[in-house]
C-alpha cells in the first residue's frame, strides 16, 4: 500500500515539475495565508507574488525549501559558498556551467554520478579550465 502511495506521489511530483501542468484535481497548493508562520518568515521574498505564481512553481519552491531545511548546518554553509562561487564567475563560465548541468541531467544517473565524482576530484584550477572548454559532459574530460 505504501509503495503505491509513494509511486503515486512520485508520478505527481515528476509531472508537476517536468510538464508544468495544472495541479491535479483534489490537490491544493497552499496560498500565502495557508503557509506556516515559519514558512512565511523564510519565504518572505515571495510574499508579494506567491498567490499569483503558478501552482507548480509554488510546489517547486516548497519542495526545495524542505530540502534546504533538511540540510545540516555545514551543508547549508557549503551551499552558500557554492552560490557565492557561482556569482563570482564570469558570464561565460556561468553560461557554460548552466548548459553543462542541463546536458548532464539528460545522462543516465550512473554517468551523472561519475562526472560529479570526477569534478570533485579535480583542483579548482582544473575545474575552471574544464568549464572554460565547455564544462562537464560537453568538453572532453581533463586527464588526471
Amino acid at each position: 500500500m505504501l509503495r503505491i502511495v509513494f509511486f503515486a506521489l512520485c508520478l505527481f511530483a515528476s509531472s508537476a515539475f517536468a510538464q508544468q501542468t495544472a495541479v491535479p484535481h483534489g490537490v491544493s497548493v497552499p496560498s500565502w495565508k495557508q503557509l506556516t508562520a515559519e514558512q512565511q518568515k523564510d519565504l518572505q521574498n515571495f510574499s508579494q507574488r506567491w498567490d499569483t505564481m503558478p501552482a507548480s512553481r509554488r510546489v517547486q519552491i516548497l519542495e526545495r525549501y524542505d530540502r534546504w531545511k533538511s540540510l545540516p548546518p555545514k551543508k547549508r554553509e557549503a551551499l552558500r559558498e557554492g552560490v557565492q562561487n557561482f556569482q563570482e564567475m564570469t558570464p561565460k563560465q556561468r553560461q557554460n556551467m548552466r548548459e553543462s548541468m542541463r546536458y548532464i541531467r539528460t545522462l543516465p544517473p550512473e554517468e551523472q554520478k561519475r562526472l560529479r565524482r570526477l569534478w570533485a576530484s579535480l583542483t579548482p584550477q582544473q575545474r575552471t579550465q574544464w568549464l572554460e572548454d565547455g564544462g562537464p559532459g560537453i568538453a572532453p574530460e581533463p586527464k588526471l
Partner: protein, 113 residues
C-alpha cells in the same frame, strides 16, 4: 550510714568523674579522629560540587560558542533564497556541485546570478 552506703557513694563519685572528664589519651584520639573525618569530608564535598559546576560551565560554554552559528545557519540568507528559488532543477544541481567543489574565480570578475 553503713559500709554499703560508703561504697555506693564512692562508686557514684568515680562514675561521675569518669563521664565528666576525659583522659588525655582519649581526648587526643578523639581529636585525631575528628580531624581525619573532616579532612576526608572536605574534598568529597568539593568534588560533589565540582562535577555539576564543571558540567554547567561546559554546557554554557558550548551554548555560547555554537548557538550563534546554529542560529546563523537556521536564518535564511540571500544565497539560500537563490538556491530555493532556482527555477531550473539543473541550476539547483549546479549550486550543489559548486558547494562540494568550487571553481577558481578571479576576484575582479564578478557577476550576479
Amino acid at each position: 550510714m553503713n559500709s554499703h552506703d560508703t561504697i555506693s557513694k564512692k562508686s557514684r563519685a568515680l562514675f561521675e568523674h569518669s563521664v565528666a572528664t576525659l583522659d588525655i589519651a582519649t581526648a587526643n584520639r578523639l581529636r585525631l579522629m575528628r580531624r581525619d573525618t573532616l579532612s576526608q569530608q572536605a574534598p568529597g564535598r568539593f568534588k560533589a560540587f565540582l562535577i555539576p559546576i564543571s558540567a554547567t560551565l561546559a554546557i554554557g560554554l558550548g551554548v555560547a560558542i555554537f548557538l550563534p552559528q546554529f542560529q546563523a545557519s537556521k536564518t535564511i540568507t540571500e544565497q539560500d533564497t537563490v538556491y530555493i528559488s532556482a527555477e531550473d532543477d539543473a541550476d539547483a544541481d549546479m549550486l550543489t556541485w559548486l558547494a562540494d567543489a568550487p571553481v577558481e574565480v578571479s576576484s575582479h570578475l564578478q557577476g550576479s546570478l
